[in-house]
């Protein structure tokens, strides 16, 4: 082991590479052994406690040994809608291992994981980090057999790992695949300043959801005093129901890299990073090859296009943390630390990676920027609405005939989208993922645009056979799991929301419980440090507003009932004291006890 760790560190000797180093150790040993932590601490000159805190922070790192085949099943609501629960039970039986456990022979472990971004081809999972799609009984039979025979992953049939793009509707951006280098040549011809003017003219706003004007962000960064600057592409697509970045990186990667390079030319950066979520490990080698090819073709590295530009891109893989999609948490993670959001301001454009001016943009934003560099600002601005120019690429999943990728001009109505993807009998749509909002069937005339429904692209459809509270329950558990733990309103609040929601859904709620839930929602929303906590109550708040009866109907007509099994809480004591008399039991609800 010493040699193995020594070997990795020789290639990556900086503490900023801690995540990448830990990924390799985890993948080799299926956990991070104590000796490795000690050794890393010495080699990288960081305290062992800091390394442990990083290991404990990310879902894909473990301090105790996982199975040689580590199987994770995606827990997105879309996977549940496709029968995930039943499949998980089937897997447990087939592999003789319970969820959350490692089989005693150490061969396999099984667990849940947050949405893996395969919502249009679920139920999905990961085996040793590699994406599995379209899971069903027959593929699980096959997987169980391969695991029991201990076949290396390289010998598994490729159809298990088949990931499809499912592009069903292309628009402005997806219709036109740029020739490699086209955007850079356009910048060279038009001039750097002029290109920024075109991007400004295009009205392009950030595609991650927040919608900050791209040209303004780049301009601010280029005006900073410090000349060491960075470009970061945020491909930590963790919002359940979003998978467009996976498709863009699979089929349009060259153009995304080109967008990053255009940005680098404008802001004067020499180094860029693609922060790729760990769940998209299957794309890693392909992307590395494209980068290599671009270097060979003089589009990346030193003296790009003989114009004297120097810029290179490094791919950094995440390790299972939704919060790293928040730009300042992402930067922390790039620096090899736990992904805890920073205080903002200062914003990354002034103090980002290593404290230097940094532009962080979404994959789709860079893709659009490259197209704009070629086609000009007016081309882009001619489409869309007043405040939302251009198109938006949507990830559509849930109850519809054709889940997948759809590109629409901004301003499209929910109704049009539902019609195009073949959704009937629709109860409502979750727009923008769990942190967005739930739209009822009375609101299908609403428009996708920053003026009305702003979205990062997640669009999950629910038909009338679905129970909204199941969805809210799933989302609320998701946030409690993904809270980074830094601030109390979110760390404690999301757990309390989960507990209170469980209580109501399981039928233990009574008169005051919905009011208490709503108060808690306001507290978590108003006092949390970052966007995660500020939006964690949205699933409850947006459905409570639209369907108050749904909640009220779950309540019992008594003044109060405990949310846990009171008599069950005496079980251990009863067994140990060997008692079963009346005094050794408690009624769940008091039947008027008169002394």
């Amino acid at each position: 082991m010493r040699q193995f760790v020594q070997g990795i560190v020789e290639n990556n000797h900086q503490a900023t590479h801690l995540l990448q180093i830990l990924r390799q150790i985890q993948s080799r040993f299926h956990y991070i052994p104590e000796e490795a932590i000690e050794q890393l601490s010495g080699l990288l000159n960081i305290p062992r406690t800091q390394i442990i805190s990083v290991i404990e922070f990310y879902s894909f790192f473990h301090l105790t040994r996982r199975g040689r085949y580590e199987l994770l099943i995606s827990d997105s609501i879309t996977d549940h809608m496709l029968g995930k629960k039943d499949l998980l039970g089937y897997l447990e039986n087939k592999l003789a291992v319970a969820v959350g456990e490692v089989r005693p022979d150490g061969v396999v472990s099984l667990d849940n994981t947050s949405c893996t971004g395969m919502c249009d081809q679920g139920p999905a999972g990961l085996v040793n980090g590699y994406a599995l799609t379209h899971l069903d009984h027959s593929s699980i039979d096959k997987i169980a057999e391969l695991i029991n025979q201990q076949k290396p992953l390289s010998e598994w049939p490729s159809e298990l790992f088949q990931v499809d793009d499912n592009i069903h509707k292309s628009g402005l951006l997806l219709n036109q695949q740029l020739e490699q280098g086209a955007a850079l040549k356009a910048v060279l011809t038009r001039g750097i300043k002029e290109t920024l003017t075109e991007i400004d003219k295009s009205g392009l706003r950030g595609r991650g959801g927040a919608g900050f004007k791209t040209a303004m962000k780049w301009q601010f960064c280029s005006e900073e005093q410090q000349t060491e600057r960075y470009v970061v592409c945020n491909a930590d697509e963790g919002e359940p129901g979003t998978f467009k970045d996976r498709v863009l990186l699979n089929t349009y990667a060259d153009q995304v890299f080109e967008g990053m390079t255009v940005c680098a030319a404008i802001i004067g950066a020499k180094q860029g990073f693609l922060y790729l979520r760990g769940e998209y490990l299957h794309l890693h080698d392909k992307l590395q090859n494209i980068l290599e090819q671009r270097r060979r073709n003089g589009l990346l590295g030193t003296n790009i296009l003989d114009a004297g530009w120097n810029f290179d891109i490094e791919i950094c893989l995440g390790a299972g943390a939704y919060i790293c999609g928040e730009e300042s948490a992402l930067i922390e993670s790039l620096e090899g630390k736990a992904g805890i959001p920073r205080n903002r301001p200062p914003y990354p454009v002034t103090q980002g990676y290593l404290g230097k001016p940094t532009v962080v943009n979404n994959v789709e934003t860079f893709l659009a920027a490259a197209s704009i560099a070629v086609n000009g600002g007016d081309w882009f601005a001619s489409i869309g609405t007043e405040k939302s120019k251009g198109t938006k690429i949507l990830s559509i999943s849930g109850d519809c005939a054709r889940p997948g990728i759809y590109e629409y001009p901004f301003g499209v109505t929910v109704q049009t989208i539902l019609h195009d993807c073949g959704a009937d009998d629709v109860l409502g749509v979750q727009v923008g993922g769990p942190s967005g909002s739930f739209i009822s069937d009375q609101e299908f005339e609403r428009k996708l645009a920053f003026e009305d429904l702003a979205t990062g692209g997640s669009f999950i459809i629910f038909n009338t056979s679905r129970n909204i509270l199941d969805m809210v329950h799933n989302f609320t558990h998701f946030f409690a799991h993904e809270s980074c733990g830094f601030c109390t309103p979110c760390r404690v609040g999301t757990s309390l929301l989960q507990k209170q929601m469980d209580k109501i859904v399981e039928g233990h709620g009574s008169a005051g419980d919905v009011v208490a839930l709503e108060e808690l929602c306001q507290l978590v929303k108003n006092y949390s440090h970052c966007g995660l906590g500020q939006t964690a109550a949205n699933p409850i708040l947006t459905t409570l507003e639209r369907y108050p009866d749904l909640y009220q109907n779950r309540l019992k007509e008594i003044s109060y009932e405990p949310g846990f099994d009171l008599d069950g809480a005496l079980e251990t004591a009863r067994r140990m004291a060997n008692r079963d008399d009346a005094g050794a039991h408690l009624a769940q609800i008091e039947v008027n006890e008169h002394e």
Binding site: S510, G512, S559, Y560, P562, G563, F564, L566, A569, L570, E571, T572, A573, R574, M576, A577, N578, R579, D581, G583, A584, L586, E590, N592, E593, E595
Partner: protein, 179 residues
């Protein structure tokens, strides 16, 4: 004095520190008993509640007896108040929540150093321990919460005088500011 406000108090899994702090209202107690009459309370030694206006509960819920006492208070008190950190969060006794109950009982009655005649106590007179210590609002409905470990005498005074004088109780920042 039939129209005095009736107050009951008790300590569940607590240390009586909140009660001691309540007594720190000192001479204001004389003012209080002008308008208040104590029902069940360690101060009166009355064993069971009758109908009361206000019930003050110190401590969390650690065993079956706590559940019965808490329910008796809820049934008899118009307003039920969680007093202090243990009632609100489980507090110090809840430190055992990280250890399985079986291990706690084994350590205390079977394997611990100096244990003689090791056996788990078993008698119908003894309340059984719950698997964890619970905050009281997870067992019955609670109307108000007085934070602090313990809440200061001034907190008790402000809260009770608000209620008695018919105001919605509110604690100014100075009274709930601890550093």
């Amino acid at each position: 004095m039939a129209n005095k406000i009736r107050v009951a108090t008790t300590s569940l899994a607590g240390c009586f520190g909140c009660h001691m702090s309540f007594l720190d209202i000192d001479e204001r107690m004389l003012q209080l008993v002008e308008v208040v009459e104590f029902d069940r309370s360690p101060l009166t030694d009355i064993e069971h509640c009758t109908h009361c206006d206000i019930g003050l509960i110190e401590g969390g819920v650690c065993n079956s007896e706590n559940v019965h006492v808490l329910r008796e208070f809820r049934n008899n008190c118009k307003i039920l108040v969680a007093v202090g950190a243990c009632a609100i969060n489980g507090g110090l006794p809840a430190m055992r929540n990280h250890i399985p109950l079986e291990e706690c009982l084994n350590e205390a009655y079977l394997d611990g150093i100096g244990v003689e005649n090791p056996q788990i106590p078993s008698d119908i007179e003894l309340p059984l321990l719950l698997n964890q210590v619970y905050p009281i609002h997870e067992v019955v409905k609670i109307d108000y919460f007085l934070p602090g470990c313990p809440p200061s005498a001034d907190v008790f005074w402000k809260f009770l005088t608000d209620l008695i004088e018919g105001r919605e109780p509110s604690l100014p920042y100075e009274l709930v500011h601890y550093d």
